[in-house]
């Protein structure tokens, strides 16, 4: 695929839009489906694979309007059903088509306070865009209306105006809500509970906020500035923030209620300990979890070798094990840090890869090599205990397994050696062990994930949980969906208490 420059794409859209503006309200669905899907302008792959700047540059105004006109405003609205936070998608798209961006933004904010983030990192092709009528008509999900890109466009547009609207906060209720973890779930709960007038404190273990948004997702996909701006909104709403605070260790979870007077707690401590393959050689120097590799670079800024004190491994040939977004992030980051060859080794095929399609496409453009239907058998080390190669096995697809995906079956005697000095394991995470270790009264399953009811309440009164600590490794938007549900339950509980207190006073 040849790279179109942002200028080319922009010029093209400027010419194209003229023909559609006159018939914006009169076009028949069939005509709309003929409007060309708008390509996301991106940094040149050659250049971007050596920098940390954001890869996808965002639609121009013309592009956004053209893309929005592709929506046929169908009656089914599958997109809303498939959105974990139920954004009124057709409505905000209609506004974009007409150039009414503020209205579009307002519609979005009704359901989603973090659109700049979601627009960038949601797996839209498996959510809102998966059952889009336009994609269906064109028989290709890739040709669905680019809802995610439009969401991002609106969020970026609002930020560029410099007038980010701060949601209204109701009068102080005197009730206190503690949020453990400042990832996507925690941020959502913080916003929703603060809006109701409760005093909200976010406790974060790290020195910076954002959780996985900060330490996990690289800047080239989600710039820190975007996270900072979204968190600024919370601060402006009056949310209190305590960093370097490990709930469970710095203070016991229950002490937040018993000693510090919090009336409700939301636990959003996220995914935890990385999983490893359990193969020979995994302890060698040069084998990293993707969590560690990415945290060193993203949070600790190890890419900035002149300034940062945190070191990062110097690699020439890197194998990344796994097929999710984290694997893509690690592979692309390794390339940016100077690796000459980066291989993504995945035991299924491209179709089964859980990563966002756009990330896979970007990775390929940047020269990442994909080894499908292959997997590591063991990692080989040199006399110093450092990685020198990886032995792999080839696979073929067999019968579908419980997940519905065809199970990869090893091909006997298919071993081959891959010459690598670094192996990054990105095959998922367990749960964060801290809360269950220090608060055993909260019920968790055998994997350590906290068990909650349909309102996100745990087995302990007033303690709620959501996000990866409940779901296992999931997505930003699912975490936000859980946060939203938990906040609703917390708000309801506190409102009822306030009512009762009022009644008893009379």
């Amino acid at each position: 695929m040849s790279h179109h420059t942002p200028e080319q794409i922009s010029e093209e859209a400027k010419k194209l839009i003229v023909a559609y503006l006159d018939k914006i309200d009169t076009m028949k669905p069939k005509e709309r489906t003929k409007i060309p899907p708008q390509e996301m302008p991106a940094q040149d792959p050659e250049i971007r694979s050596h920098n940390l700047e954001e890869v996808a540059l965002g639609y121009t105004m013309e592009q956004a309007r053209i893309e929005a006109m592709r929506c046929i405003q169908c009656v089914k609205k599958n997109c809303i059903d498939d959105c974990p936070v139920k954004i009124d998608i057709p409505r905000f798209i209609e506004y974009i088509a007409h150039g009414e961006f503020q209205n579009a933004s307002d519609v979005m904010k009704e359901a989603n306070l973090l659109p700049a983030i979601c627009g960038r990192v949601c797996p839209q092709e498996t959510q809102c865009q998966s059952n889009c009528a336009v994609g269906k008509a064109l028989k290709e999900v890739d040709k669905s209306v680019a809802i995610g890109r439009l969401e991002r466009f609106i969020a970026d547009w609002e930020r560029a105006t410099g007038k980010i609207s701060i949601p209204e906060v109701k009068p102080e209720t005197g009730k206190k809500v503690a949020i453990v973890g400042s990832g996507p779930a925690g941020l959502t709960v913080a916003a929703d509970c603060r809006r109701e007038g409760h005093h909200v404190t976010i406790f974060e273990a790290f020195h910076k906020l954002g959780g996985v948004l900060r330490y996990g997702i690289p800047e080239f996909r989600l710039p820190n500035d975007i996270i900072d701006k979204e968190i600024d909104v919370l601060k402006a709403m009056g949310v209190e923030i305590k960093t370097n605070f490990v709930v469970g260790r710095t203070r016991k979870l229950t002490d937040l209620m018993d000693k510090d007077g919090y009336h409700a707690i939301f636990v959003g401590t996220g995914a935890g300990l990385p999983m490893f393959m359990g193969i020979e050689g995994e302890s060698l120097v040069g084998v990293f979890s993707a969590n560690e590799y990415l945290t060193r670079v993203n949070l600790m800024r190890a890419y900035d070798k002149g300034h940062a004190d945190t070191p990062i491994y110097v690699s020439k040939n890197v194998a990344v094990l796994g097929g999710g977004n984290v694997a893509m992030d690690a592979a692309r980051m390794a390339k940016r840090l100077g690796a000459e060859n980066v291989y993504v080794v995945y035991r299924r095929t491209e179709v089964e890869m859980p990563a966002r399609k756009e990330e896979v496409a970007h990775a390929k453009e940047e020269g990442i090599e994909f080894y499908f239907l292959q997997n590591a058998k063991r990692i080989l080390g040199n006399e110093k205990g450092r990685v020198k190669a990886m032995e792999c096995l080839r696979y073929e697809l067999g019968e579908p397994d419980s997940s519905g995906r065809r199970r990869p079956v090893v091909i006997p005697n298919s071993e081959f050696i891959l010459d690598v000095d670094t192996v990054i394991v990105a095959i998922g995470n367990g749960s964060n062990p801290l809360i269950s270790q220090t608060t055993p009264q909260i019920n968790a399953n055998k994997w350590g994930n906290i068990i909650v009811d349909e309102t996100q309440k745990t087995s302990v009164d007033r303690i709620f949980a959501g996000g990866d600590i409940v779901l296992g490794a999931a997505t930003v938007i699912l975490a936000m969906g859980e946060g939203r549900r938990a906040a609703a339950a917390i708000n309801k509980m506190l409102a009822e208490e306030i009512e009762k207190e009022k009644a008893s006073m009379n």
Binding site: T243, M300, P311, Y313
Partner: protein, 284 residues
């Protein structure tokens, strides 16, 4: 932000600081550690054990040896200055009960984390035998403090400049040969010293607990950088440790992993003590 309240140089490269950290002081137990970072944007996170704490005053004491850029910078900070990031207490507290006779072996800077553990063991009614050792006299720390706690106290130096001229493993072996043998050994110090303490006690089947100080980033069970092989299992020092059964720890792998970045490090500060002991062992 944690203010430095006092600062004292204990030996050539070893410093003691008391920090204002009321929450950590209140919650910490023997065996736990903190992570600190001297610059919120570009600093490195390093784990350091809590040598002492005063919950009433709201202070904790750290003792550290200058081995790299962060510890060097920390040693240059003065009373009244503030450490931007201080987080803890991390790790599982030491399990303390009345075991009977416990040998506490501290090597070099390892005496710092050993001190609160020995203290707690003593308070729990144990007969505490303490062996502290260092390369040379001036690297011996906390001698008086340890002496007060110990029922039996042995100090040794590699070069014989103070106390007995021996590695800590020599008196440890002698104690293991006593009848009855000790109920437990706790060894804290450079990895190579903990390895050889574990090897010393193995034939006597005396349970030997070691405290591991691996590379860490978050220290809260997320990154996996601190993983070690314990028997056939992967364990994480920050949430499963820092204390493990020394007879099960794969020390060689842990030492290789500790050196992961050695050849890349901009500031090549090597751990003198560790290197010296290693050289010595290699000569044997």
């Amino acid at each position: 932000m944690a203010k430095i309240l006092t600062k004292k140089q204990l030996s050539k490269d070893v410093y003691m600081m008391r920090l204002d950290a009321p929450l950590i002081a209140e919650e910490r137990s023997a065996g736990q550690f903190i992570i600190l970072q001297l610059d919120d944007d570009y600093g490195e996170r390093i784990p350091l054990t809590i040598a002492d704490a005063d919950a009433k005053e709201g202070t904790i004491t750290i003792i550290y040896q200058v081995v790299g850029k962060t510890t060097l910078q920390l040693s240059e900070m003065e009373v009244g200055e503030k450490i931007p990031t201080l987080v803890g207490p991390l790790g599982r507290p030491t399990h303390i009960e009345e075991f009977g006779t416990v040998v506490c072996v501290g090597g070099g800077i390892g005496v710092a984390p050993l001190y609160p553990i020995a203290q707690a063991l003593k308070n729990a009614g144990n007969h505490v035998i303490t062996i502290i050792g260092a390369r040379t006299k001036e690297l011996i720390i906390l001698e008086d403090e340890m002496k007060v706690i110990a029922d039996e106290f042995i100090v040794c130096t590699d070069d014989g400049s103070y106390g007995r001229k021996a590695l800590v493993t020599e008196p440890l072996k002698e104690i293991c040969e006593r009848s009855p043998k000790p109920n437990m050994v706790i060894a804290i110090g450079p990895p190579i010293m903990m390895k050889f303490c574990s090897e010393t006690t193995r034939p006597y089947e005396v349970f030997t607990q070691v405290s591991l100080n691996t590379i860490m980033v978050d220290g809260t069970g997320m990154c996996g950088g601190c993983r070690v092989n314990i028997g056939k299992e992967i364990k994480f020092v920050c949430v499963d440790g820092p204390e493990f059964d020394g007879h099960k720890v794969d020390f060689d792998n842990m030492m290789a992993r500790l050196n992961s970045y050695k050849e890349f490090e901009r500031e090549a500060h090597s751990c003198f003590l560790e290197q010296e002991i290693k050289d010595k062992e290699a000569l044997r």
